[in-house]
Subunit: 203 residues, 2 copies
């Protein structure tokens, strides 16, 4: 079976919908915007995806379905905790420089409708919370790190990696940074962030 051409109508719609939905959210996006972005007619959107909600669901599942597994994969990896933290921050911040609006999109839409959206994702992608919690508890028992709630460590890591990208428009407006400058600051920051997290737990 041949892979779908990137210029097939269905792909053009998906590319356009991704852009518009990520930019404006479900409520802010118009089918007309998506049709124009795709260079086709509005009726085609319904021909291929039946409704706006169905099209949105496709896009959300696609984006959340690669965003969350990336986090879960690192959590699941069979490597020492400190190395895991370093790898995660590095990979994560690099990813955000490439696709900066995806985390905001996920968070915004999950807040809009937590049950329908997050639960469907979780039904296909189980977060390896148990594994990570076990690893953290094992390190605490060994005495390599101080006692800390696993969820707190996870939140601290995600906070430092993700939040700056959520407030980038605000940061740029206040500091006057342009996009390349902001990215450069974030890139340099990747190593200091993992150091900061590791220092905060190691004994």
């Amino acid at each position: 079976m041949r892979l779908k051409d990137d210029t097939s109508t269905e792909q053009k719609i998906l590319n356009a919908a991704r852009k518009i939905f990520v930019d404006k959210g479900l409520d802010g996006a118009r089918m007309q915007d998506i049709a124009e972005e795709a260079g086709i007619n509005k009726a085609m959107l319904h021909y291929y995806f039946r409704s706006k909600d169905k099209l949105f669901e496709t896009i959300f599942n696609e984006l959340a379905g690669e965003f969350l597994p990336k986090i879960f994969a690192i959590m699941r990896a069979d490597i020492p905790l400190f190395e895991k933290i370093e790898k995660f921050c590095e990979a994560y911040i690099q990813q955000e420089i490439k696709t900066p609006y995806v985390p905001m999109f996920i968070i915004k839409e999950v807040n809009r409708d937590p049950n329908a959206l997050i639960k469907r994702i979780l039904s296909t992608q189980q977060p390896p919370l148990g594994d990570v919690i076990a690893q953290i508890k094992s390190e605490i028992a060994k005495g390599t790190i101080r006692h800390i709630e696993p969820v707190e460590l996870l939140l601290n890591t995600l906070s430092l990696c993700i939040f700056p990208f959520l407030v980038r428009p605000m940061v740029q407006t206040i500091t006057g940074m342009d996009v390349p400058t902001f990215n450069a600051v974030m890139e340099r920051r990747a190593t200091t962030v993992s150091k900061m997290i590791i220092d905060s737990i190691k004994t």
Copy 2:
């Protein structure tokens, strides 16, 4: 001049609009929702505020106009840096437990329309960036803290204080925590967060 009664029609509208806009955002909110929440007729909203956009603008300015100055006030305070960080984390997390959806509202709406919204706020509330940068540089010169980009320190602090509340619905769904439990975790976390930040910079 007498303060406006909380039960005046104008106040009822503002209270209702705040709730609905914070909950659903500009695009998701309906004038009908706001009217029902206020217990009045839809036409009154236009009588008092002319249009949905004008009503939204009023609410946004009110919320951002107290949210940002709180951050700026701490930045501006004439106290030692470490104490400033402790005070900020404590006050900030307490505030978020009380009004948890406001940061998300501000970030979401600023991302939707960065120029119009943030610039108007900044024209009345100047962030004391210069003061904080000077203080940080002075501490670096004194040798009490290591060299760090001021903007990085600010971002780290805000990340750790704000981000967990942005992903609360996700955290609750994944971990199964209820709201009081989540708040309790956050409250305990307030002190460890400021310790973590201070440890990451002190020499």
